[in-house]
Point group: D2
């Protein structure tokens, strides 16, 4: 086992949910070690968070600018290998840009940027500087999501016809943002979240899951966005009809006002000779149907694809969950970074890239455009 | 217990699926007794079917015209009380019209008619002649569907926000109509099925379920219809975005090419303070969520609404199914007929009426109009 | 279709649960028609119940003795074809005996008799008089129970190793008998229920299901019986270890104090190369596993055994339930009666017989013997 | 966050399943860091495994004796804080004993020892030397298992009546040990596994889960052990009837020949006014029933007990699994060690102790005694 990569985190202070998840995921396999951070946009909080995480005071920074400046001032062998960007959405672009310009690999949370122009800039910057810029669409890390992708690619269910993607949550069914709850506040604030609410936060996960699993490309879409909770300016619910290149059709719905739903991400793919169904809340089962009728419950064990097998750590029946899937994203990012450092050609680590991030942002833009135009049909243009 | 009503059946010969279902449903409670029939559009087959069902040869007819003529020629006390119309779609209107004009109550399968103009004609004819004209949207007969309706009407989950209705089957995923299979043949034939395929056959059930359970009225819709199986002229798959009067939104998807799905009718209703979820394939459980988090599994037992309690025959844990639900529709129709015969004012038997049938046909027309116009938004007009 | 057999019912007045179930089941296929009854042990109640069911006053009897006397006084072509015995347990034997002695076929509820000596007497009486004596172990009527039986008999899962049978209810978790509730009162009363409570009422169903599905014969058993509710003299809970002839092992648990369980009858059979699992509360799914790992969900459709196919009335996805399964028991009894009347050799209708009833009563006796002897092991002797 | 404790591992070389699990679990929270090891009973393999795990060669040992000798030769501040013992069963006792005698805290896998005499020796040694000796009954680490325990302790379901514990696997349904598969070989070998097979390996988990969750103490038991696979000398299947002090009853079944079962550990507890059901393969849901009928699905979110809340890392809907539960055991062990080092009184960390380990070994002994004596009843004696 090679020594862990060392990374810094921007954002993700102790009161942020997602920062802790990134740290757990990075730590799980011992592939990445957090050694530096600018963990909050408020300098003092940033230092406090760093101390409470036990970071070296020398590498506890007041701002991301300071972090980049000081880390890159260190000898190459001593600087961080990559930076995890886990700030609210509006900061993804400036932070990631600064990192990439400074020659640092980036792992960035989603939605990738506020605009697809920004996303293209980051994508191209990473390419031109030969840097990794991964986007943590973590649900693609589940072994059975990868199995689903492999099965479809292998033709196991024939040509795709209909895709149902949904991501339903209920935690924003009331005006939680008015209670001062931090997660709700920035996610419902256009300044920090961008032009979309639920659509950006979770709709992009659904879009990415469709793309990752099916390989289908959206040809046109028609989206209806709603803000159900009074006083909320961004959508908290969206439904879209999708038409894919090649003739498949689909629906994608996402909502944060589905009372009682916790994290209901589900993908159902129907094709000529079979179907595959996966539900994030019960992630260790993949359902497969075929024309002859019976329903097969596939678990992580048995004769699975290499992509699924290499993504699992435990025998079937020993439940794996969210952290392991997230850790697979980090593992892929670490593989990609090490591959670049070794001067090897890029392998497909399955970890989503800036291009995947860009497509998600574009998806949001086109849905918002459709909605603003009376939920009319919009052709996909990059 | 009053003596059973006596009824005739038009269509539903021995090789038809749905005729047998109607007979089982009518027989279950001993409320209706089949005594006459014109069971096929082919005279000889009609007589053969009648014989195999043990009908009196005197009341085994060669055609529905003959049936109506001869039955109405009998003294009133000896004629059939009502006629069940279970033919392919295109015959619903002429048969029902002839029955209603002859003073016979009607129980008609769905979709009610080929056009909403026909539906209006039947609805008004029934009203003017003071006759029952019930439509067998059988899924509304399930006790827990009625419980769901009662809970929503009582305000148990607050104001409605989002409705997901889906009805997914897979039996037409291949060109079954080319094999000579009767069910598939007429359902995919515009001459006999009408302007829609899956949408008319099962989409109307989904529309009716939404209407019955939520009471919401569609304000506008946008539908995308597809014929996935090569050579098929009618849709075998449809997805629609719905906007309801009052601000609720919804999606309705129906498909007969979802390989492996048997009879996947599901309704999920999310509202301000709770949600309710019901799945036809597991009909004895109703899920209820609320803002405080836990999910409650409601079964037929316990403190249910009168509407649910009166629709159930067995203690919870003793599964009820499709036939019982269908029988509840017949029970309601019999109640309505007896009520009319007794000169009582019409009670709400919960059995769907010609007006429900009309709304379903109109739904189909508007979806087809939307689809023909590039899946544009269409305002609901009656 | 042959005309329905005509039957009388002893017990099953309007306030009894199981009488209504028998009537629904008998009516479902139009194979049997209720025309006479002695519906209660109280003469006036018997007549009242008959009237409310619309029975002919001439055939509404005050007692089962009167019923048998008067029916057998009629010309053979006019008398009832069989008698359904749905009284509390202690009357099964005298009523069935009188019927069989009078030459009337019998359909009897379970547990068959109070003692196995009585059961042997009825079994032999039926045999000697060439009469049908069916026992309504209704759960064997489910199509997928019959599929399970067929699969095991065909060797689909290899030699049987371990059987888990459980039947868990919760309705007697409190002293419901003290509230005057009729069902609870007689079931907890040794005078009317016999030497066992839960064990006799539902344990016999579990025993029968094991026997029907697996064909295994118990070699010895060890049972622990408990009366958890204070003041109750009969068991409301029982657990038994089973050893079968040939080396398979098993557990059988039944309880009526499992709060929240409605009618939790489950059978799991593990064998050399596969396993089969069926749950009564979700009866339209049979799970099959095999050595290679995946779990297959079998529904009523597809390539099922003749035994399963002939027991189902609807396509898969259209839930069948308790009544249909019960109706299959009646159908088998009617087939058996008609077969005898036609002078044909007895076919295996799959409907349980007096011998099955006897084995169930013997099972109860041996469990009680084991329990009384400190839950020691008891060899099976007939 | 305090710096991680540093630990050594005995056993758990790279080809062992459970060693990797312990490492993942220890790493998850950053509470414990592996710095030394004697990872195999074969010196060279031990060193190879250490190298592949990136351990410092100075702390890569050839044997556990060498490990203990050299580590304790280091200054206290530099030696390992504790030793994880993850060898086959027969080595637990000698290794743990040597560690405890050398003053090193121990985390030991289960079953704790080969005999209860050994277990008592270790327990007392730990007590007398004021050392932690934790046993990794990892299933008690699940948040909802801890919730179940808290609910029962709080009286939420009233006095306990019936407990069903089962742990069913299928991986040893064939003679896997004959294929040279390491896991199967030692687990079926009395020299290394002890007097029991399935009972020791997984039955002890079930016993521990019952004890942890319910607090009930076994008063007597009756066990039937079987070796279904030809040639196997230890049990691969066991069923036991349990009687608890205070009147509750139970069954415990464990098997490794249940084809198709992966890791089916389930606990169902029925009590006077409610019931609780938990299934390891779907660990993020706890079912609760009550006398009024509905079934409530409890997830990790909402108003849970402190014991459950502190054991969870993610919001509900984000599945947690086996590793997180296992990590909770390590976290408790680390808490206990730090507490001892700080000279504080022992807090209840919920991590199982040597006494829990001893009780499990005693359970095995008494089951084996019962089975050897014709599956007779055996009183519990410590």
């Amino acid at each position: 086992m090679s020594p862990p990569l060392r990374f810094a985190m921007v954002g993700g202070g102790v009161d942020a949910f997602i920062g802790g998840v990134h740290r757990l995921a990075a730590a799980l396999d011992g592939r990445a070690q957090l050694i530096a951070g600018a963990l909050s946009s408020t300098p003092q909080r940033s230092l406090d968070s760093a101390r409470s995480l036990g970071l070296d005071p020398d590498r506890s920074y007041e701002s991301y600018q300071q972090l980049i400046e000081r880390e890159t001032a260190r000898p190459e062998s001593d600087r961080v290998d990559f930076v995890s960007v886990v700030t609210p959405n509006h900061l993804h672009h400036p932070v990631a840009k600064a990192c990439l310009e400074a020659g640092l690999h980036v792992v960035c949370d989603k939605p990738f940027t506020m605009t697809s122009v920004q996303a293209i800039e980051l994508r191209d910057l990473a390419r031109n500087n030969n840097l990794v810029c991964a986007v943590t669409y973590n649900y693609t890390g589940y072994p059975l999501v990868r199995e689903m992708r492999s099965l479809i690619a292998s033709g196991a269910i024939g040509q795709l016809r209909k895709v149902y993607a949904e991501y339903h949550q209920g935690w924003l069914a009331t005006a939680l943002e008015d209670t001062g709850m931090k997660q709700a506040s920035w996610r419902t604030d256009p300044e920090r979240a961008g032009i979309a609410g639920a659509l950006g936060d979770i709709g992009t996960h659904a879009e990415n899951l469709v793309s990752f699993v099916t390989g289908l490309e959206i040809d046109s879409l028609c989206a209806d966005l709603t803000s159900f909770v009074p006083g909320r300016s961004l959508d908290d619910d969206a439904s879209a009809l999708l038409r894919f290149k090649g003739g498949a059709k689909g629906t994608l719905t996402c909502s944060q006002v589905c009372v009682g739903e916790e994290n209901g991400l589900t993908l159902r793919v129907y094709a000529e000779t079979g179907a595959l169904i996966w539900r994030q809340e019960n992630p260790n089962v993949l359902e497969q149907t075929s024309l002859d009728g019976d329903r097969r419950l596939i678990t992580r064990g048995g004769d699975r694809s290499p992509a699924a097998t290499s993504a699992t750590r435990l025998p079937p029946g020993h439940p794996e969950g969210f952290i392991e899937a997230f850790a697979n994203i980090y593992r892929g990012a670490c593989d990609a970074i090490e591959s670049k450092r070794a001067g090897q050609p890029d392998a497909d680590t399955l970890t989503p890239t800036a291009e995947d991030g860009r497509r998600g942002v574009r998806f949001v833009e086109l849905c918002v455009q459709s909605a603003r135009d009376g939920s009319s049909w919009v052709e996909w243009t990059d």
